[in-house]
Symmetry: C2
Subunit: 390 residues, 2 copies
């Protein structure tokens, strides 16, 4: 397998973008990434989107992308695995380039979610759960994650305040992210006083409904060294991909995201690193409890210690391992198919030293973790900057 | 890139399978392919489905597949590109194995279409067209292909009878396919006397709404030689993938499927063959006119000669190049995501010499061509049997 690098990044603002259509978002972010890489053509296109059929009445999205980018003819593939659709498109594109089939490939994650009513958006998202046993019986994702939160609180003594502190940190981080949907400071009291969605989760524990797109350009490392010299080269050091049971009730332990642990182990092994080597991370905080469970499953702390680790400030930008410096899904927004790609962009910008106000001091090796449904799938991607003995 | 072989095949019956759910179909066909290959585990899973969200209220289909096959943990990816979703899953899986990332991979194409009403099925299918410019204005696929047919008849003198002869041949072929949806003989008069859908296309010019799944197991050729000795080894000699404009009105010549020509050229180049080397083919006859256009775009005849080639009987099982011996989409049925994989199965069975009553005499090299929408995407796959000097 050839080594692969990310050589271009670009994304739209995340938010309620009523003046932009699905195809507008795709084109805007794709062209930004192509401009960033300074390429005007690609060999392949991968699109990550969860449910453009239900949210925007449009499947066949990869062809639409090639067409509206003025690149009719170029092979284009859409990948879907609920909320990891973006990182799945990235992984699939990675294999395309690693195999030697393609050289320069565009990956665009997108979701246009606010063109449908709120109940239709929730119904669309529910197709990531088990339709016959979960959605059919009326449960939606806040309810599923509330069960995870209750189990975690009971088993490990995780507190309501610790959940709040995830939201507080990620909203604080988003203040420095000009593309984030909710650039506003929140207090623990504000989280706990906001509308209850599914006990113990309040609305400020939940990531929002968002429109947006995020794109990267990838190429073989050897080609990157030769042709993409404007930015530091960022190598894909490891990608781990795993599935979990699609239904929450099939799991032995609701509190442990085994799917994240498996994807993490595979990524660490491929990158030949351990959790201690990771300098910063973007994790899938679709709900505050998810970030806590993921810190544990990724090996950043012991099982049951995610809440305490958060309370100690270890995941703040100046902490032991900064997590979701971008604002995370919670405050940056969660346009489902775009999220995984936007996580990778955040890593690349820090590793390049181009993250502006958010720039971390030690950022040579970062990890992005994306989660599908209540834990039906996960991808963990580890990126490393070249030029530090690599 | 490593060479890749198909080492196992299996599919469900195609039809209105009201007693089988989406997951039942996936499991049945996947286990058949695993039994055929004699494997009880795989390294990766690829699922092709066009719109399980709109047809069955279920996205996150790849995780569902891993889960219901008892293979939780295995990386699983869903691919979508309208009606080529099945062959796209196959191509993407091919790159996974070719890259060296995975060894033994399952590919399952599926669509469960009859759980929704007829108008919802048509609306779901319409998401393969350009939503903003085509579907929104009320046109559906029979209308789009009717425009192609009218243009072809006007430009080349293709006759109504020639269209009928495509349906007559494919229904005749399906009589020998125990898994086909419509195993019935039709006459040209029956086609022309059937209900008009969109002039000049009658209902017997159209492929049906179908439930079904089709699966293959792939592995590196080297591993196949060592471990999969029960059947003749069938190598993936070439895969070509291309996009076209998603909207029909964007094309300069309605009669020419440029997307098929491009995908074909790429596949021929990779396999180092020409159209004359192809001994038999499965092509995407979603409407009778489509088969005629595809014969031309694949180089089996000159532009405009597809109707005449059909009339001369050259595409019959005993003709110069047998086309759609399986019955094609027309008579075998068209469960959208399953179609591309079922085409590959048909090639494998003939090349292995295991096609039963349908077995062709000369079947060492075959071609499968899958088409998305009205020509927004296409994949052409060429398979070759080993053991003939390979």
């Amino acid at each position: 397998m050839r080594e692969v690098a990310v050589v271009g990044v670009g994304m739209t603002e995340f938010g309620e973008l009523w003046e932009k259509s699905l195809r507008d978002l795709i084109v805007e972010s794709s062209l930004k990434a192509m401009d960033n890489a300074k390429v005007d053509a690609v060999d392949g296109i991968y699109v990550g989107a969860m449910s453009s059929g239900l949210f925007a009445n449009q499947e066949h999205l990869a062809s639409l992308t090639a067409d509206y980018l003025g690149m009719v003819g170029v092979p284009a593939t859409r990948c879907e695995s609920a909320c990891i659709s973006g990182s799945l498109a990235f992984k699939t594109a990675f294999l395309d380039v690693a195999s030697g089939y393609s050289d320069i490939v565009l990956v665009t994650g997108v979701e246009k979610m606010t063109d449908v009513s709120g109940d239709k958006a929730v119904a669309g998202l529910s197709t990531a759960a088990d339709d016959e046993f979960e959605s059919y019986n009326g449960i939606t994702f806040p309810g599923l994650y509330a069960m995870i939160a209750n189990a975690h609180m009971e088993k490990y003594g995780t507190t309501r305040r610790q959940l709040s502190l995830v939201a507080v940190k990620n909203h604080e981080n988003a203040l420095k992210n000009p593309l984030a949907q909710y650039r506003m400071k929140v207090t623990p009291e504000a989280v706990e006083g906001s509308v209850m969605v599914a006990d113990p989760l309040h609305i400020l524990d939940c990531s929002p409904i968002t429109d947006g797109a995020a794109s990267v350009i990838i190429a073989p490392v050897e080609l990157a060294k030769e042709k993409f010299k404007d930015h530091r080269i960022v190598k894909v050091a490891g990608i781990g991909h795993a599935t979990g049971t699609i239904a929450l009730h099939s799991r032995e332990d609701l509190t442990y995201l085994d799917v994240v642990a498996k994807a993490g182990e595979r990524a660490y092994k491929m990158a030949a690193v351990t959790p201690k080597d990771i300098q910063f991370a973007e994790v899938h905080d679709c709900f505050t409890i998810a970030e806590i469970c993921e810190l544990e499953a990724l090996g950043f702390c012991e099982k049951g210690e995610g809440g305490k680790m958060t309370e100690k400030g270890e995941t703040k930008p100046d902490g032991r391992i900064p997590v979701n410096v971008s604002g995370g899904l919670k405050a940056k927004g969660h346009p489902v198919g775009a999220t995984g790609v936007s996580q990778i962009i955040e890593l690349v910008e820090h590793i390049r030293g181009e993250a502006g106000e958010r720039q971390l001091k030690n950022a040579n090796i970062g990890l992005a973790q994306n989660l599908g449904g209540s834990g039906g799938s996960s991808i963990v991607t580890i990126l490393k900057g070249l030029g530090t003995g690599e």
